[in-house]
């Protein structure tokens, strides 16, 4: 394995193909039996395809950083910070791990964070107004006040932006959603100068075009540096025999 020793971080985005292409089959042979079983458990075809897409890309991405074949990337789970069980943060095996990563996918879009220090990412489809009204009272008091000051349309975007920051942070610290949602303030607004809880840099990530359906965020340990780039992975990154190394030399 050959990974840079200085602090670094990268973010990658990938759009899910509309359908599973018959001519250029996805590189599913690079997935583990567990991953294939999980993919097959999805009820709807596009959910299955998104899972396959995200996990093929994840293995290929990590493989490019680690300079090993995708199937040999040693994925594991760190101990749960709450109970010590084997269902904590997903990680590359190693003590210390050669790099840190985080993956999120939602409604056709996947976001990958790869870093020299703990990282969390989240991407979400913008929820309905009804969902926002229902869920806002679960947040930190100050976050609630900030959202409730906004108009209906702004509120949906603001909630989604805030939620992705919160979930990225909770993934970054390793607790995930087991931690109380009201415990941490992630309500940074643009230009406020607030960058997240102590020891963390948390911010939203641009992930769309003018037709914005998704919002995304990343949380980085202060031991890392802000992402050097936010790159889009090409569609053929997913196909057997396709491009397997989108990374140029500066990300190694």
């Amino acid at each position: 394995m050959n990974v840079r020793s200085d602090p670094w971080s990268d973010l990658w985005l990938l759009r899910q193909p509309w359908t599973e292409p018959p001519g250029d089959p996805l590189a599913v042979s690079e997935l583990s039996e567990v991953e294939l079983g999980r993919a097959d458990s999805f009820r709807r075809a596009h959910d299955r395809l998104l899972y396959l897409t995200a996990h093929i890309a994840l293995r290929r991405l990590l493989a490019a950083y680690l300079e090993i074949p995708p199937r040999e990337v040693p994925l594991t789970r760190q101990p749960c910070p709450s109970c010590g069980g084997a269902h904590g943060r997903p990680a590359v095996a190693g003590d210390p791990p050669p790099l840190h990563y985080s993956l999120s996918h939602s409604s056709g879009l996947a976001l990958f964070g790869v870093s020299s220090a703990p990282i969390g990412v989240d991407v979400e489809k913008i929820p309905s107004q009804e969902t926002v009204e229902l869920c806002t009272p679960a947040l930190h008091k100050k976050e609630q006040e900030e959202i409730e000051r906004l108009g209906a349309l702004e509120r949906r975007f603001a909630f989604a932006r805030l939620w992705t920051r919160k979930e990225a942070y909770l993934k970054g610290i390793g607790t995930g959603l087991a931690r109380e949602l009201s415990a941490d303030y992630l309500g940074a607004t643009e230009g406020s100068g607030y960058g997240g809880p102590p020891g963390w840099m948390v911010d939203n990530v641009p992930c769309g075009s003018s037709h914005v359906n998704h919002v995304a965020a990343a949380a980085l340990s202060a031991d890392a540096v802000r992402p050097e780039r936010i790159g889009w992975l090409p569609a053929d990154f997913l196909f057997a025999g396709g491009v397997t190394e989108p990374l140029d030399s500066h990300s190694r």
Binding site: S41, F42, R43, C80, T136, E167, L181
Partner: protein, 125 residues
């Protein structure tokens, strides 16, 4: 904001007294129906597609925001608190509904908490 009154016409909120009076099988059946309907609305599942109550929730497309929405529905409509992770890791809608049914049965609402029961075993797998 008045979340409990929004889109009421599309929803079927179980009556708590009726639920408590029903036997456990009937209570579970009604809660399964409620949860499936809630998921259909949130996940925009078309009427011709079933929500299979025997499947794990994540396989039906339930993510973090949908799980939070379900959690809030359980608090508002069933007066039951359930951890978000428990919802996300539920083996099925049926299993989740059975847990909810037991909480609805076992714990009358208290003035201090405003909730009937609590399911907190977020790290159990």
């Amino acid at each position: 904001m008045t979340p409990a009154s929004t889109f009421e016409e599309r929803r079927t909120v179980p009556d708590l007294e009726t639920l408590r009076a029903a036997d456990i099988d009937e209570r579970i059946r009604r809660i399964v129906e409620f949860v499936c309907k809630e998921m259909r609305i949130t996940l925009e599942i078309p009427p011709e597609e079933d929500v299979d109550p025997t499947q794990p929730l994540h396989t039906l497309g339930v993510g973090s925001i949908t799980a939070l929405r379900l959690k809030r529905r359980f608090e508002l409509d069933l007066l039951v608190e359930m951890d978000l992770v428990r919802i996300l890791r539920a083996e099925s809608v049926s299993e989740l509904s059975a847990r909810l049914a037991l909480c609805v049965e076992d714990a009358p609402m208290t003035a201090s908490s405003g909730t009937a029961g609590t399911v907190r075993d977020e790290c159990a797998e």
